[in-house]
């Protein structure tokens, strides 16, 4: 059917491929893969940092467990107290941090990609605010059991997300409309929350206030399992859509012209990313800034012209597990809520990156 087109001249120039990539082809040319070494190196480095931080997190604390003892304690051998702290307390907490960070990082990357806006994170588009309002409602009205609060957060977040999408939807979701509607809905929800706080008794209000900062204190295997199951089920869906999303960053018409089914991609990706955000918030509360900063950091480190989902997930995991270690140890024995630390570390790092980029004249 393409007979009217001249096929490519075989004698054209030297081997050639997209910038900074390596190509591999099977001998007969049926299979071919493209890879960016820089992205791979960055991802491996993030995995390494996360792993080292994980080991350190398990080892240090008011009750020191020397590094050589840690591997044994992990598989349940050694002193009872060592095993208890490693298996029962520190490992699940660190794993929760990694899972929540990865979930927020990849969801943030999806929101930013689809809204084509660096501010398009769940914090800004109202999801976090909806979850917080749902949780506060659960704490103040129903009672403060962890499960109830989580369910309240998920319900609040999903309802808010649905409302924001529907309001912003007109011939597809458009980026800045999503952000603007999200900001408006967030402001309304914040006032509802404030009103509920003024009507609550002091203990409940304090509990709600602490929940809203986001924290990993006292998170155990239940929370770790919940968030990891969420990541295992939902992240692959987003990864499968990743290539389409990168094409949609060229503009919706251009992407459709290239054969990307834009509408279905948009709807599925938004729904799945919302669910993933819900899982993260349900487990750890609305930890700020990871979803906003991780995709930006990942894309600057990998220097891809667009979103990198894997990089964002790994960056989110690294950011949160490092922040949690700092939250635990910075003012020990007092534990800070990790949400306080993510804003300081993530924000500082992002500003530093932007600053060096502008000075280098690349921004």
């Amino acid at each position: 059917m393409n007979e009217t087109l001249t096929s490519a001249r075989p004698d054209t120039a030297a081997p050639f491929r997209p910038r900074d990539t390596l190509a591999w082809r099977s001998p007969k040319g049926r299979l071919s893969f493209l890879m960016r070494p820089r992205t791979l190196v960055v991802c491996l480095a993030l995995v390494a940092v996360t792993f080292v931080t994980l080991v350190v997190s398990v080892s240090v604390g008011d009750y020191e467990i020397p590094l050589p003892v840690v591997p044994g304690a992990l598989i349940g051998q050694g002193e009872r107290l060592d095993v208890f702290f490693v298996q029962g307390v520190r490992l699940p907490r660190a794993l929760t941090a990694i899972g929540v960070g990865a979930a927020l990082g990849i969801a943030g990357a999806v929101f930013q990609s689809l809204s084509r806006n660096a501010l398009g994170s769940p914090d800004i588009i109202g999801f976090t605010s909806g979850a917080a309002t749902g949780a506060v409602f659960a704490i103040l009205v129903v009672g403060a059991s962890r499960v109830v609060v989580s369910l309240g957060a998920i319900a609040g977040g999903l309802v808010t997300a649905a409302v924001v999408y529907l309001l912003a939807m007109r011939n597809g979701v458009q980026g800045y409309r999503l952000v603007l509607v999200g900001i408006g809905v967030s402001a309304m929800l914040a006032s509802v929350r404030d009103y509920m706080m003024t009507r609550a008794d002091l203990t409940d209000a304090l509990g709600a206030q602490i929940w809203m900062i986001g924290s990993l204190n006292n998170r155990g295997w239940g929370e770790a399992a919940a968030v990891w199951i969420g990541v295992a089920l939902l992240a692959p869906v987003l990864l499968a859509l990743g290539r389409r999303m990168r094409f949609m960053e060229l503009g919706e018409d251009t992407a459709r012209g290239l054969g990307v089914p834009t509408r279905s991609t948009q709807v599925i990706a938004l729904a799945v990313a919302s669910a993933l955000t819900g899982a993260a918030i349900a487990v750890a509360g609305p930890i700020g800034f990871v979803a906003l900063a991780a995709p930006q950091l990942a894309r600057r480190l990998t220097r891809t012209g667009g979103t990198t989902l894997v990089g964002s997930a790994l960056m989110g995991a690294t950011l949160l597990v490092v922040a949690d270690l700092v939250a635990l140890r910075a003012l020990a024995p007092t534990q800070l809520p990790v949400g306080v630390v993510t804003a300081v570390i993530g924000g500082g790092y992002l500003i530093w990156l932007l600053y060096t980029e502008w000075r280098g004249g690349r921004a």
Partner: protein, 270 residues
């Protein structure tokens, strides 16, 4: 001819939400033509192009591509037959020229075929034929408007589609780059046998380059055919509300529109 043309639309009602732009529109794009759609602002010319490129779903009627309703093909299948250069595209920050052109290969790629030898050759050729090979390693951000438009065109060429739809490809360019872009389109049409459909603003450009002209007003097609046979002073006045003289373009012998001098004449706007 109507039956055999690769791209046509019948009984089209085109609308954005409730706002109807066109009703009962029938259009046929002659194969191997360089078809240009012209008309005053808001006459529905870009809307028609969007419908032909399946970017806008018709409220009623259907667009036929190679004998089938365009919406019944998988998205990638359409993209192997019909390429689209929209009015606005966004180049991601820092993307390289070759990377962007390579994205045109999307409809030919899959997870197991990410960068075949053919991809490589076709991208190289698309850059060659649009004259951007020398820019291959530059970032798109650094390019001038004219160069950038050539790069976008190269991306669409890399799709290797027999049909190319261009929505106001000259809009943001200065006069030299406008002519440059149109010459390039004409060469692609003449040398590589693409069927081209372009929306253009400038009537003189349309007359010079089109082999088939579609003139629209208020969502309907007022006239269509070869520019030399359909473009008259009457038609232009009727469609654009502008009194003109039509003379012969001294370069190409195609019709050329020269507005009548109305300085000092009191005008009544409707």
């Amino acid at each position: 001819m109507t039956q055999d043309a690769r791209l046509s639309g019948r009984d089209l009602t085109l609308a954005y939400d409730q706002r109807v732009i066109s009703r009962d529109l029938a259009v046929t794009i002659p194969d191997n033509s360089f078809t240009v759609i012209v008309g005053p602002n808001a006459c529905g010319k870009s809307t028609l192009l969007r419908a032909l490129s399946r970017t806008l779903k018709p409220a009623e009627g259907s667009v036929l591509l190679d004998g089938q309703v365009i919406g019944s093909y998988p998205a990638k299948e359409v993209a192997r037959r019909l390429g689209l250069l929209p009015q606005t595209s966004i180049a991601p920050d820092g993307i390289g020229v070759a990377d962007l052109v390579a994205r045109g290969r999307f409809p030919h790629q899959s997870f197991l075929r990410q960068w075949s030898a053919q991809d490589e050759a076709v991208v190289a050729e698309a850059m060659e034929s649009t004259g951007v090979s020398a820019l291959a390693d530059r970032s798109v951000d650094e390019l001038s408007g004219g160069q950038r438009q050539r790069v976008w065109l190269a991306m669409v060429l890399a799709q290797q589609t027999p049909l190319l739809l261009l929505d106001e490809p000259t809009t943001y360019l200065d006069i030299a780059h406008q002519m440059d872009m149109l010459d390039l389109c004409a060469d692609l049409h003449a040398e590589r046998g693409h069927t081209l459909v372009a929306v253009l603003h400038d009537l003189n450009h349309a007359c010079r380059y089109a082999t088939h002209l579609i003139v629209m007003k208020d969502g309907t097609i007022v006239a269509e055919g070869e520019p030399a046979t359909i473009v008259t002073a009457d038609l232009v006045e009727k469609v654009f509300g502008l009194p003109v003289r039509v003379i012969e373009d001294p370069e190409t012998a195609t019709p050329m529109i020269v507005p009548v001098d109305r300085r000092g004449v009191r005008r009544v706007h409707d």
